[in-house]
Amino acid sequence: MNIEPAPVTSDLPPIFADWFAARGWSPRRHQLDLLAARERGSSVLLIAPTGAGKTLAGFLPSLIDIHARGSRPAVERSESPLRDLMAAGDTKAALEAMREARKNPSRLHTLYISPLKALAVDIARNLETPVAEMGLDIRVETRTGDTGSAKRQRQKSDPPDILLTTPEQIALLIASKEAEELFASLKTVVLDELHALVTSKRGDLLALGLARLRALAPGLRTVGLSATVADPDALRRYLVPQPSDGEALSDLVMADPGASPDVTILASDERVPWSGHTTRYAIKDIYRLIGENNLTLVFVNTRSQAEMTFQELWAVNDEALPIALHHGSLDAGQRRKVEAAMAAGSLRAVVCTSTLDLGIDWGDVDQVIHVGAPKGASRLAQRIGRANHRLNEPSRAVLVPSNRFEVMECRAAVAALAEGAQDTPPLMPGGLDVLCQHILGCAVGSPFNADKLFSEVTSAAPYAHLNRETFDRALDFVATGGYALRAYERHARIRKRNDGKWRVANPRVAQTYRLNVGTIVEEAMLKVRLVKAGRKTPRGGMWLGEIEEWFVSQMEPCDTFIFGGHVLSLVGIRETEVYVSKTVSRDPKIPSYMGGKFPLSTYLAERVRDMVADPKQWKLMGPQVAEWLRLQALRSVNPARDQLLVETFPRAGRNYLVCYPFDGRLCHQTLGMLLTRRLERMGARPMGFVASEYALAVWGLGDLSLLIETGRIRLGDLFDEDMLGDDLEAWLDESSLFKRTFRACATIAGLIERRHPGKEKTGRQMTVSSDLIYDVLRTHEPDHILMQATRNDARTGQLDIGRLGAMLSRTRGRIVHKALDRVSPLAVPVLLDIGREFIAGEANEELLAEAADDLIREAME
């Protein structure tokens, strides 16, 4: 690992040294290294595990700097004379004094940017202690979406020394008239949880914001705080402006890694299921572990898993342990209550999703239980770090696999943790939709020159390789929609004036921009309201939280599901509200499991393939899994790690093809779509498919074994990389996933407004549905910049096309086919998923026909 030499040259100023001494602390090496970076004026990336005093390290240089600068902004000093003058009725002198004060109002020194507003608020609280104890005259404030408009306004005219905020607020501040003045004095930007920020579009938006800030505050220094990542250089590039020829890196400080975690895999006496994600079998074991510790975080991958686990735990909670639930769909007030109870030490366990992933200290967690697949080694390490925020004690964690494949995945993750291997995803080029939003934001702030903005944008690492032609198309999109048919010149949002600068055409454009800033496009959400059962026309009712529209859209009235820890029955849906009633049913029907947002990392996938291939490793995974893999070797074959096993077999009047790429559900789903198209053409009459994290099963009427043996289907051709050409293009026509990606891009780029001045609109209430826009655009201008943005996203996001390409090239010439007379042990889990998962693809039309046919049958009987 590459560690920058950072000699300790800084002696702490007395007031700071005394403070450390009074607490019996001495500054840690990495904290001093960060001070040294400040003296050199260098931007720096600090990589440190949880509990290493990362935040204090990030702020210490700023606190010292502001203290040395001498505090209290001009405005504040002038405030009392101003008041005196006003009181004395001398308005002219008062105005004069105010004008004087306005000349240099800004004393904003440090911006702290966090991905979570709760984190910003928490850090502000934590900063107050040292500031108060040292008696520093430093003002610290937060600014989030919750900050009142009066305070926000005041923060622009009279900013604090340190402002703690979120990427969206930075975008808004940049787009304000006061930006130039406000940021002129800015010296440092601290970016917390940088590893989490940079892999999203929020990271792209922030990168562009940083480029703007550097232009407004020359000499600006950045400090990135991050958990351990696979490629620190990518983050180092992110922190500093990139030259047009080559690359620049920030300094790097690595903190001591701390004690390695103590991670075990749950050894249950119960039978580990073949498939599924409920982990019901292990509930008693999980409950026992909770009872043995003070405070346990039970991490799960999805909201429905959280609900399920919470429900099951309470069903066995004989001792009435205080166990709570925390996930993003719950009402914010309820979440705050759980957090406060955690901090107060009155809870024994919290079942949570990624909402508790990031670094807020909610209490003395002494155990993490991870239910379900870890998906990635680095992500698991970060979650485990939530237990024991003290650096020198090992965190304790127990992994609970929910099925047999997950046993292998957990084993792979434990091995990776022991080696300190990292598998954080690589950084992607910046989104074009985000660029469009930023260009409009710049114009809203102050008129810009296109050449200058282009070089500013390309100084941001995610956009370093953006070419001028693409930039100009983005600019054209912002101005008039960027259509080849130049129909909207007179409706332009921004116009180039005589001085060559672009400025907004009218105030409504600025207003709309401010309402729609940001890159988080929510799934359409419906409000859940509790009403009495049996109401014909429900209305009102207690608000329980919000639920994704897709989830509800699969249900019929009277269907039951779990939400907020209750089993609820659907009463009806009206516009954006879902009415539910409580029910006594103990067996809620769970609509299709959507899987987690995070696919199995390529790194873990490789290790799992390795385990399947190597009999020596089988016994490590317990007798059940070892027996299962042994049986597979007997009945079929266990593929070598670089091979792709394809099995074909008949079952219940259908013929199945199952393959095992281990490349994640998204990638397999895309493969499934493309394979069924090809099998159709090859005469195999495919009827459907189902994808899991590990395997893909396709079934049809044609005798697949025979077709392959007689050479009518050549597997090399079937799995040829050229499927990513025409077949992919043709399929994208109908892909609802692709349309969803387009919706996000169109919303971020500002084509679809989430909110209009005066009234708020969400989801399907949008003026023209994005699906309809997509259909029209795809037919008439398939090369439009938003189509390009969508394709780029699809490559890495929803469709994982990049990974599919890598898989096809990895397995070329290494396909092993087994024609079997019945289902193989390895194939059982994915076949069990049929009926549980969406059967995606063209089957929709047939399903519709089926709905009509049913009716005919009913009518004839």
Binding site: T480, G481, Y483, L485, A487, Y488, H491, R493, R508, V509, T512, E549, V552, S553, Q554, M555, E556, P557, G572, I573, R574, P591, S592, L751, I752, E753, R764, T767, V768, S769, L772, I773, D775, V776, L777, T779, H780, E781, H784, G835, F838, I839, N844, E845, L847, L848, A849, E850, A851, A852, L855
Partner: protein, 227 residues
């Protein structure tokens, strides 16, 4: 044949494109074209692709080539925005004229287009009785046997094997029919929404859901609430 229905004794056919065909009269009925909706929204700041009018007319041309109607009835809201439609680009105006040539074309008034753009041609009326059928834009809540209307943009969702599918649809109970919206930028409204209440006999209601190649007839009680 898929999509055939009986309305007050007349045999009508719902076409997968979203128009309705009355073979005996060689009459094509189309609702809610919303031409120039894109341009209208652009004027208010949403620069959505300006190709919707061309797309809508192309689809209409395709179905007219196939069915060769003698009469066409556009059930109102044919033009999204009175002011913007006045500036309908010449090439599109010509294309529309080409479609109208050789047919008896009737524009029914809609709430978006109480008057058609000047000089567009065709007949213009608030409503039109033809045999036992009565064509108007907005369905009238009272009993109106033989009413054929648009305005509400009906859509239906149906759940099959745990999968919810949603399509635009025509809705008919044998006494009244409401057509799906045809325009490229027109969405759909679930038949379960309160606005449809009282318009149909629930026992006889069927949704004619528009599939890719055919029309799927689904009984009213099977129509889902979601979407």
């Amino acid at each position: 044949m898929a999509g055939m229905l009986d309305l007050c004794g007349e045999a009508l056919q719902v076409d997968p494109s979203g128009v309705v065909w009355w073979p005996d009269e060689r009459m094509l009925i189309v609702a809610d074209l919303h031409l120039e909706k894109g341009a209208s929204l652009a004027a208010r700041g949403a620069l959505i692709p300006p190709y919707d009018t061309a797309a809508t007319l192309a689809r209409l041309a395709e179905v007219m080539m196939r069915l060769r109607p003698a009469r066409v009835i556009a059930l109102g809201d044919s033009f999204h925005d009175e002011n913007v439609s006045a500036g309908l680009p010449a090439v599109l105006r010509e294309r529309l004229r080409g479609l109208m040539a050789g047919t008896e074309w009737v524009w029914i008034a809609g709430n978006h287009d109480p008057l058609p753009p000047a000089g567009i041609g065709g007949d213009f009326t608030a409503e039109l009785g033809f045999g036992p059928l009565l064509f108007r834009h907005e369905p009238n809540a009272g009993a109106a046997r033989g009413e054929v209307a648009g305005h509400l943009h009906p859509a239906a969702s149906v759940t099959v094997r745990g999968r919810s599918l949603r399509r635009r649809c025509a809705a008919c109970d044998g006494g009244r029919m409401i057509l799906p919206a045809f325009g490229a930028y027109t969405g759909g409204l679930n038949l379960r929404e309160p606005v449809f209440r009282g318009l149909f006999d629930p026992k006889r209601l069927h949704a004619y859901m528009l599939g890719a190649r055919t029309v799927h007839r689904v009984a009213g009680r099977r129509i889902g609430y979601a979407g």
